[in-house]
Amino acid sequence: MFNKTLSLKSFKSTAIVLSMVAFMIVLMAFKVQHNTTSDYLDLSEIKKKDSVASIAAFEKVYSVLMHPRCMNCHPDGDVPLQGDESRIHNMLPQRGPDGKGILTMKCANCHGAVGVPGDATPPGNPHWHLPPADMKMIFQGRSARELALQLVNPEMNGHKSMEELRLHAEDTLVKSGWNMGGDRELPPLSYQEFTKAWYEWIDTGAYAPSK
């Protein structure tokens, strides 16, 4: 009974991933025409599909994405979260249309290109922001399955191709999750462990867990 349910669900997720892959092939084909130096994902890589390995890798990825260092800027609402307990961000800054805050409450007003050392000083980053209002990329409250599906969906991931999604792990804002200073709790994996799991998840087919 248990096995049956599981296989049914993994069939469903496989189907979704397959359709995604199909979609991206079209997308990439289009892009390649304009981009001769493209280092887009080798299709042979995607073909090394391995749902077990992919889902196992995503569980690791999920533990990082749902950690306050990542989730706090992917809130279910228009105010970021703050601190190890992911409370609503003090002083209630708002997302704003571009995710960079509004008026006197722009992210960069407190989060400078670099921060000032201290236990509770605002971490710095030249591009500190939330996802924009038209694509909120909410992590908070998402199950592993929901989050995986959301991440691979260009309509929900910031119009990122799989390769762009893959490269997003190298974004300085993502990296700053491991470099916020003070006594903030670090994500459960090191940055290297995280990127390894992230690439593995994508490279083995970006499967979504059943739950």
């Binding site: 003090n90 006197t104 007003n109 000032v116 201290g118 605002p122």
Partner: protein, 152 residues
Amino acid sequence: MPLYEIHVNGETKQVDVDSDTPVLWVLRDNLRLLGTKYGCGIAHCGACTIHLDGDAVRSCAYPISAVGNKKVTTIEGLSKDGNHPVQKAWLEHDVPQCGYCQAGQIMTASSLLAQNSTPSDEEIRRAMNGNICRCATYTRINRAIRTASKDM
């Protein structure tokens, strides 16, 4: 030790400080611009608010190394004779009690009105939510902003 050039209130100053020194302490300890106050050191109270290219920045958590060519305006440079509409409205409503947070409040309010000269009451409350007034003069702060808004 690095030497930084900082553009403050229309003048260019050179300061010899550690690269992680918050702008607040450069203003106070090096330039003796004392209107900008220390309240928390973690950008949570707003007493240290200055304008960086017009934005209401918390100088206590903003290192000198991140300022670059941006223009710094402090309460001393907000207006020539204290006649900025926000300053005038602050006097008209007799806003201050202890007065310690008010420079920061005025810097935030003036940045708000420069970007949106007719904010709604809710926009005012949200825009001013980063500035703590321990004497709790919030009602007067908001009234003064509404008055200044008519004068912008």
